[in-house]
Each structure stands twice: as C-alpha cells, then as structure tokens.
C-alpha cells in the first residue's frame, strides 16, 4: 500500500534578489495513514519550508522539482479546485501562534463553525453542536461560554486547543503541526501536546510534527527525520535515534541539549552555527563543522541510504558507529 503522504526527491529554490537559492535539497519522506512522523531540526534547516511545500504556500517565485503525493496524487501539479479540497478536507494545519490562525474579530464559535458551513455543507445548528462536543474533548469544559468569547479573551494555551478543535472538526486525514507548543509555557505544552496526541490517535489521523525539540518529537512520534541545511540527514525510530544515532548531527543534537537529570561540566559542542541550504558547499552539508569529516566528505554529496530500520545521509556512518553510540558529555553530578 502506498503511504498517505510521500515526498519524493523534493527540491525547492527561492528567488532572492534575482538569484536562485536552494532551501530544500532532495527531501524524501513517507508518512503512512495514521502514522506520526517528526521533522526535527534547528532554524533554517527546512522544516517549515517542507510544510509550506506540502500545502503549496511557498513564497512567490519559488520553484519546485520532485513529487509530493497525497494518497497517490501529486500535489505539485494539482489543479486549484483539488488543492482547495486538499486544504479544506484532507490536511489540517496547526501553527505555532494560535493568535495568527484565528480571526480576531469573530467569536471562537463563529470561527469554528464557519469552515464547516462553508466547506462541508453542514447546517450552522449541526456544526455548532458538533464543535461544542469537540471543544469538551480538547479540555474546554464550558464550551458554550467559550464559543461566545473573542480570541483576545482566551489564553494562548486555551486558544491552541481551539485550533486543535478546528483541525479535528474538518475530519482530515492528516495534521501538519508546525511547532504547535513552542510559544506555550512548559506545563501548558505538556497538556496541549497530550490533547493533540490523544485526539490524533482517537481519530486515526496521520501527523507530520515539526519541532526543534528532539525529546518532544520522540514522545509523540513513530518515526523521526532529522533535518540539517535543507536535507534529511537521518530517519529513525525515536528510541533507536536516542540509543544509536547514525549521523554525527543527530549525536550533536542529543548532546548539546542540557539534561534535566544531571549537569555536565561543559556541554558537548561543535564550533560554528547551523547553515542554510544555500550556504552548503560541495560535499556533505555538515562537513565543515563535523568532527569526523575526512577529505572524501567535502568532495562527495552523500545520499540518503538505508541504515538499520531507518536511513542516514553520511559517508562514514558505519565506520564511526561505535563513537556515535557513546554520548560525549561528561557527568558532573548524578
């Protein structure tokens, strides 16, 4: 069976002052029906551009090649009518900032009902009743009162629940969640993430979960793809990624985050900063920062190839495997 979403050798370039700049390089990724896949990386790694490619909301002047298949149909060549249907019925989006996603001058109830009446031929009465039920499912107990309120009267955590409810209400097959809890306090994050996870499982939805937080992705995803400079560098199951990273960058991401259960004398770091896809030289994107780089790494662009149960984009992955298994961080207190 083909996956629900398949990105196949996706390349995206943007037009910056008349110059073509790559932002995504050879991104291939499958998301099966009902499966949750995490897309993890630092700023500029291409996570959000991937989401925008799927929805075809790339900046003006963007050029794409490769394929994005949703249920076997290529999104990139889809006519406008089908694209509208995809966005309104099949794929729901949850962004980082709920205030930007909700119309500030209509009530929460009108916002939720509008999409159902306009796109799903539901009667206002029917839509209202259904929305009210979903609101209680996402942990908003006094739903009828909340529906009469305006967005500015609700906290960020509550508003993000409203956005989750809006996503569930259209009965999509897939959720694109782009840093959905990054703007929230930690305790609220845990709660909202719990709700999103529960709703997704209950309704059997697929999810592409974009985050910079490897541990958060690991907690709610079946598989994780790590991105660096516009490419996927490793794809793996969360536990395998944690115990047995196969790409130096995954190891770096794991080590550079301070741990809650112990302090290190110094954190493991590599010099430099994460680069964007257009800054990549010949060879591997990480090579200039990679402690394991050899001359061959700056000469050949590594392919994303099968490794274990997942995939990795590193020429030396097998050679350096034992080193990558070990965390480099020294322990100060236990």
């Amino acid at each position: 069976m083909s996956p629900l979403l398949r990105l196949d050798a996706l390349h995206v370039t943007l037009n910056v002052d008349g110059e073509r700049r790559p932002v995504l390089h050879d991104v291939s990724l499958d998301v099966g029906a009902g499966e949750a896949v995490g897309l993890v990386g630092e700023s500029g790694s291409g996570k959000s551009m991937t989401v925008r490619s799927i929805l075809r909301v790339l900046p003006h002047g963007a050029e794409t090649s490769g394929r994005i298949d949703f249920d076997g149909t290529d999104i990139l060549s889809m006519p406008a009518k089908d694209l509208r249907r995809l966005r309104s019925h099949e794929v729901a989006v949850i962004h980082q900032d709920p205030r930007a996603a909700i119309n500030p001058v209509s009530t929460v109830g009108d916002f939720l009902v509008e999409a159902l009446v306009a796109n799903h031929q539901e009667s206002p009465r029917q839509a209202r009743a259904r929305v009210q039920d979903i609101l209680s499912d996402v942990g908003i107990p006094d739903a009828s009162r909340r529906m009469r309120q305006y967005p500015h009267e609700l906290s960020g955590g509550l508003l993000q629940r409203v956005v989750i409810a809006a996503a569930i209400a259209v009965r999509p097959r897939m959720i694109l969640a782009d840093e959905p809890t990054t703007a929230l306090d930690v305790t609220t994050q845990s709660e909202v993430m719990g709700i999103l996870d529960e709703m997704r499982r209950e309704h059997g939805l697929a999810m592409l979960f974009i985050t910079h937080d490897l541990e958060l992705a690991g907690a709610v995803c079946d598989r994780i793809a790590v991105m660096y400079a516009g490419s996927i560098v490793e794809e793996s199951r969360p536990q395998a990624l944690e115990d047995h990273p196969r790409h130096p960058y995954s190891r770096l991401l794991l080590d550079s985050r301070p741990r809650i259960d112990q302090a290190a004398d110094r954190l493991e770091v590599i010099p430099g900063r994460p680069i964007s896809a257009f800054e990549v030289g010949p060879g591997c994107a990480l090579a200039p920062r990679c402690p394991y780089a050899e001359p061959q790494c700056t000469a050949t662009v590594p392919a994303l190839r099968p490794a274990g149960e997942g995939r990795v984009r590193c020429l030396r992955s097998e050679e350096i495997e034992p080193v990558l298994r070990r965390s480099g961080t020294e322990v100060r207190d236990v």
């Binding site: 305790t187 845990s190 541990e215 770096l252 550079s256 985050r257 954190l267 900063r273 994460p274 207190d333």
Partner: protein, 286 residues
C-alpha cells in the same frame, strides 16, 4: 569580601503595578512580585525559575534598577539600592556592579553601531581609557566571548543570533560588573548555539568569579548553569534550595508539575486530572 557574604541580597521584595481593568472602567492594582527574598554569594549562580506571569523578569528588572520596588530592599555588594533616588554618578557606579543580558540580542543592540563601537561606548563611559587601553580592552572582550576581528566591525544585522548574544554578553562585561543578570538569555537560541553560550558563561564564571542571576523557564538549562534556584509562581516563591535537589526531589506541587512537564527519555505528554487542576487552582489562569 569573604565567600559567605552575599553579593546580592533581596528582602521582602514587592512590586505592584497599576493596570487598566479588563472591563475598561478605571484601574486596579496588580501585584507582580510579592514577598520575594534571596541571597547570592560571590561567584555563585542563582536561577530564578518560573513560567509567564510568575514575576521572574520583574525581579530581574528591579535588581538592575529598571523598575523600582514598591517595598522591600535590594542590597548589592553591601550597599542598599532602594534608599534614595540615584544621580548620574551613582547610577554609573551601579552599572559597574551589575549588568544585564536580555533574551533578544537584536532588540538590545543599537543596529547602527558596530560591535566595536558598542563595546567602546561602554568602556569610555565607565573607564575614560587612553586610546591604546581602549583598544586593548575591546580586544580582550572580543576574545572572551569568541568573536573575531572581522565580526567586531560588523553591524548586528550581519551577525547570527548566537553571535549577537555574544556581543550582548561582551557589552555587559565591558563595565566589569561583579554580577550578571541573564534574563532568558539563551531561550531564543538554537540548541547547538545554546550549548556554546552556556559553555561560554561557565568559562567566564570560572575565570572571573562573576556572580550570575539566571532567569529562565527551562529547567534543563537551569540545572546546567546554577547551583541554587528559586521557583516562582504568580509573584511568590514556592520553593527554593539547591538546584539538583529541587529538580530531583521537588517538594511543592507546582514544582513537581513543572518537573513532570519536561520531555525526556520515557516521557509522555499527559492531560492533567481534574484533581490535579483543583490542587493547583489553575482554573483562574485559563
């Protein structure tokens, strides 16, 4: 000064803001900080932990003099900061005692001033150096925070987020303070850059014996940078003590919930039960 004399001491700090009422009819008092007290010894690092609305940033702002406490006292290096209104000379002297680094390095740097000029300005203000001495100080600061000659001539817009935060730290250090207040100073940085800055802060403290007050919502970062911590919620301290103890064996229900909310190996997000919610009386903040 002996190791045991507190460099910073806050007693019964209270800050009340006059805010417009939500219904637009007149104003009401909002207590942002209520009865907060702590001490930091020389060379120590105290973390002030809390979520939005906890009052942690208001405490930071009172320490450096950006806000005036409604009541309570702040003592830095044995001198009271709350006695009377300070003149220019006094404020400059205070600037050599305590400096602050903010979350957004872009917003806190003059975007028309090169790194070198930004540092030079602070040095001139505090030390009236000779030309050679000034250059020497700038070079030393750049080296301390890991910026090179080329970067020192750049405007903030030409630098990355991590480099800008290095500039902000260098500028704070330029006044040679004894205390650095860092308000969510690594929160906006990517993890690999965050690690670099945390290591840099550890290096600086080890070398200079600087005292840190580290304001953060991030418990893992707090563990890495501080030995002591206070946990704030709605303007009050709910728990205080050694950072390792607070995180390994939290006593207050709020601290426990905070600790449980942090993703890690084996962690799953969870919805709070009604009982937990009631125990924390969270409803009003919704």
């Amino acid at each position: 000064m002996s190791d045991h004399t507190p460099v910073v001491e806050a007693t019964e700090l209270r800050k009340v803001f006059r805010v417009r009422r939500p219904d637009g009819r007149g104003s009401a008092d909002f207590t942002a900080v209520d009865g907060v007290g702590f001490q930091v010894r020389a060379g120590g690092a105290l973390a002030i932990v809390g979520e939005s609305g906890s009052g942690k940033s208001t405490v930071a702002r009172m320490l450096v003099g950006l806000e005036t406490p409604t009541s309570g006292s702040i003592t830095v290096l044995g001198r009271s900061r709350t006695a009377k209104r300070a003149g220019t000379a006094e404020r400059r002297r205070r600037g050599r005692e305590i400096q602050m680094v903010f979350q957004d390095p872009y917003g806190s740097l003059n975007r028309r001033r090169s790194v070198r000029d930004a540092l030079g300005e602070v040095i001139d203000l505090h030390f009236k150096p000779s030309r050679g001495e000034r250059e020497e100080r700038i070079a030393r600061l750049l080296e301390d925070v890991g910026l090179d000659e080329r970067q020192s001539r750049a405007l903030p817009s030409a630098l990355s987020g991590g480099q800008r935060q290095r500039v902000a730290i260098a500028r704070a250090l330029a006044a040679e303070p004894k205390v650095l207040v860092l308000d969510e100073a690594v929160a906006a940085l990517d993890v690999s850059i965050q690690a670099q800055i945390l290591n840099l802060l550890a290096d600086i403290r080890e070398r200079t014996g600087l005292t840190y007050l580290f304001i953060s919502h991030d418990l893992s970062v707090v563990r890495q940078i501080s030995e002591e911590a206070i946990v704030m919620r709605k303007g009050r301290i709910v728990e205080s003590g050694p950072t390792a103890r607070i995180l390994d064996d939290p006593q207050h229900p709020y601290t426990r919930m905070l600790r449980r909310s942090v993703p890690g190996p084996g962690w799953k997000p969870r919805r709070m039960s009604q009982d937990e919610r009631r125990a924390l009386a969270m409803e009003e903040t919704w």
